[in-house]
């Protein structure tokens, strides 16, 4: 496959999944179990994405400057610091640790 074919096929697949969700009848989510489970699925996916983004490196685990950066972010979120400032602080933490040579 060419890179263009890969991009087009994958883009259509991801878009189709989004649209398919709108075809599911609304009643499906009107039971407490479905609503609760859908909420928890969101929590689980976001939590998993944090782990992948923080220590994932392809099919392996790599501890580097991202880990202290996410710890800083968690502390700032706990202190109710606004979202944008936390993101900047996390990036700055990782960048500083790398610039100082204290973390990869």
């Amino acid at each position: 496959m060419s890179i263009w074919q890969i991009i087009i096929v994958a883009s259509i697949a991801v878009l189709a999944i989004k649209l398919a969700g709108y075809l599911v009848p609304e009643q499906v989510l009107q039971t407490p179990t479905a609503a609760r489970t859908a909420n928890l699925v969101t929590v689980a996916l976001l939590s998993a994405l944090i782990v992948v983004q923080t220590i994932g490196s392809g099919q392996g685990i790599l501890v580097d400057a991202r880990l202290p950066a996410i710890v800083v972010a968690a502390g700032l979120f706990a202190l109710r610091v606004p979202f944008i400032l936390v993101i900047v602080a996390a990036a700055a933490t990782a960048a500083a640790l790398r610039a100082l040579g204290w973390a990869a």
Partner: protein
């Protein structure tokens, strides 16, 4: 809260989340070019696929395996996009009827538009949250992708600027307001453990989906739920998390 202040709050959350997320589109553009895509290919991904997790997964696999890894790259992006289908079911009643509107809404159904919409207290403010967040991120994400792709060569190593850590922190900011009870906290911890254990065992993209099973195991039998507490409802939620930007909305 009055209807006007609810509308203002929804707009404020949309801008705060939208601008922060759009800003790290620059890291996607730069990483896409570093993975061997050209500027147009990076831009088409952001315009059409428009799902950060799937986009990062696709370029991650292509960076490692090139065009020969096409099927794995497509599978990874698609699997990571499955959660958008769940979000669509969730926001479908907020969007309401009309096929053209639902088609457009489908394209804008992502983590952040869903999170901001479902965090608002009324249907009107939920609609504002969904459309405003989706539109702000679509425009900003595409502009920043283009900028990142063009600047990619100049920036060189994007990790030197901590952009990879910013992506992780953004996901943390989205889940943080949801962690107000034992049940979601247990699911978050369980999902993190499962992901950590399965990253070395499974192809990229799959650990995230396996982690979603934790939510099914806890959620369907309602393990660790609040005894006698109100059941969560889809709309007009009493205990929805506040806007995932700062916790200000609870003041």
């Amino acid at each position: 809260m009055s209807a006007a202040s609810e509308r203002r709050e929804a707009w404020r959350a949309s801008w705060a989340v939208g601008l922060a997320v759009a800003a790290y589109g620059i890291s996607f553009g730069a990483l896409a070019v570093a993975s061997g895509l050209d500027v147009w290919q990076a831009s088409v991904l952001s315009a059409v696929m428009f799902s950060g997790g799937s986009q990062f997964a696709l370029i991650g696999v292509l960076a490692a395996g090139g065009a020969a890894s096409g099927p794995a790259a497509i599978a990874g992006a698609t699997l990571l996009g499955l959660r958008n289908g769940l979000y669509a079911v969730r926001v479908s009643p907020i969007v309401g009827p009309g096929w053209a509107k639902r088609l457009l809404a489908g394209h804008l159904t992502i983590d952040e538009s869903t999170a901001v919409a479902t965090a608002q207290p009324t249907l009107e403010s939920q609609r504002i949250g969904f459309w405003a967040t989706g539109a702000i991120i679509w425009v900003g994400w595409n502009l920043m992708t283009l900028a990142g792709a063009l600047l990619g060569d100049l920036l060189g190593d994007v990790s030197a600027y901590g952009l990879d850590a910013a992506a992780a922190a953004a996901f943390l900011g989205l889940v943080w307001p949801r962690l107000r009870a034992l049940q979601p906290i247990a699911v978050a911890v369980g999902a993190a453990v499962v992901t950590t254990l399965t990253i070395p065992l499974l192809p990229p993209g799959l650990p995230v989906l396996v982690a979603a099973v934790v939510a099914l195991v806890v959620g369907i039998p309602d393990l660790l739920g609040r005894p006698g507490g109100p059941e969560p409802q889809l709309v007009h939620h009493d205990d929805v998390p506040p806007a995932p930007d700062s916790g200000e909305s609870e003041r």
